[in-house]
Amino acid sequence: MSKWIPLWLHKLGSPPIFYRFAGVLRPWLLTLALLLGAVALYGGLVLAPADYQQGDAYRIIFIHVPCASMSLVVYGVMAFASFLALIWRIKLAEVVAMQSAPIGAAFTFITLVTGSLWGKPMWGTWWTWDARLTSELVLLFLYLGVIGLYHAFEDRRQGARAAAFLALIGIVNVPIVHFSVNWWNTLHQGATLRLLGPSKIAPAMLWPLLTMMAATQLYFLASLCGRVRSDLLDLESGKDWVRKLASGSRGP
């Protein structure tokens, strides 16, 4: 392997080292995520002014938008880990990809439910066959397909590789979801937040939204750490380091 990849990154790929690393990282990530989430909820639900048109109903965006962005980010993480798993057959990458899928599916589901709850009073309907909504629904099905394929195999590593391949095929949907509001002019509103240039939202509403996005990202990392840890224990249950851990002595 080339020299520019630092040694600690190689070491992190080994299950026992990652297990300890994730164990140290997880409480910090979780605390920070909960703290930022509480601040953002206070800012969004109490401090931010009501919308002049939608009243208080708009406040659901503080849940809806961060979850929607995470549904795509998690797919990206899953696809990247799948790529690593397929090319270099790294066991840890397989675990990360497969443990991302249920978290991503949950974020996608929350996005659809909160959007639907908001849509009833605002659009007058729970559901409409709009490009953004439909592509988000397809994203949920893709997550479920990956999870289903993973569990269909007897051999878990083989299942992880097959599901990783499916995740890579499904990545064509991610840009479709992201750009759907620009490509098709349908009911769902266009992008409000921009990386380049000013966002089309009042600063009093913007900072809780951005804080909440940071909180969901940290929460995803914390949740991923926890899931990967328990899955590693399960996958490596025959190995020495797990046996030492289970017998109560200090791990390697």
Binding site: L86, T134, V138, F141, L142, L144, G145, G148, L149, A152, F153, E154, D155, Q158, R161, A162, F165, L166, I169, G170, N173
Partner: protein, 228 residues
């Protein structure tokens, strides 16, 4: 013994698969009968009002054909896995992707072509205007190979599993949403007297892309699914 040339190998595989399909003619008839029965159910469920049936005809025919193909896809590699000939194919000196492309072609000829042949009958049962019929056939001619190619990749992924029927539907249906949108869009546009060439061109472009990529992806998926 010298290895046969690439063209000979392709022809041999195609001939073998078509012969196998012909020996089991009953299996070829099944998807057609399925599509016929599903289409018959719609007038019973929605009422025989011809204006309504006319409006939904193209969509019903497309979805019915899609479901019939989905049911048949499961059998694409099954008998070859059972008798071990798929492993021989993987070991063969010829490129696996090309061999799989031949298998997909044979499968398309055996399952999709009969469905396309009866599609005008199905559409006629739902009172689709005769003027729109050619557009429906064009879109089916482009959409069914797309579904075969997409489906083959996913079937290859599930090759190592025991229960794959419902799983295949769960994986395939999200991926074929664009195919259904463009195929149905072309027919709907033709029905309203609008230009319908653009969606057909999109389908054709997607078909060209998948003709190149899908056999390669199918070969990679099969290698993943078979190495136990």
């Amino acid at each position: 013994m010298s290895a046969p040339s690439l063209a000979q190998a392709c022809a041999a595989l195609l001939r073998r698969d078509l012969t196998l399909a012909w020996r089991r003619r009953g299996d070829i008839a099944m998807p057609v009968l399925y599509a016929l029965i599903v289409t018959t159910l719609f007038p019973f469920a929605l009422g025989p009002e011809s204006a309504l049936l006319q409006r939904i005809a193209s969509g019903v025919v497309l979805v019915t054909v899609l479901l019939a193909m989905l049911l048949a896809l499961d059998a694409l590699f099954r008998s070859d896995i059972e008798d071990g000939s798929l492993e021989q194919l993987v070991l063969a000196p010829q490129p696996l992707a090309l061999m799989l492309a031949m298998k997909i072609l044979a499968h398309w000829l055996a399952t999709a072509l009969p469905l396309i042949v009866v599609a005008p009958l199905l559409a006629g049962m739902l009172h689709l205007p005769a003027a729109v019929m050619p557009v429906l056939l064009y879109s089916l001619l482009l959409a069914t190979p797309l579904l075969s190619l997409l489906g083959a990749v996913l079937v290859a992924l599930t090759a190592g599993t025991r229960r794959s029927g419902m799983l295949l539907a769960l994986m395939l249906l999200p991926l074929c949403v664009p195919v259904v949108i463009f195929a149905a869009g072309a027919v709907a546009a033709a029905q309203q007297g609008l230009p319908w060439l653009a969606p057909i061109a999109w389908l054709a472009a997607a078909l060209v892309l998948l003709l190149v990529l899908a056999p390669l992806a199918c070969a990679a998926a099969l290698r993943i699914a078979l190495d136990a």
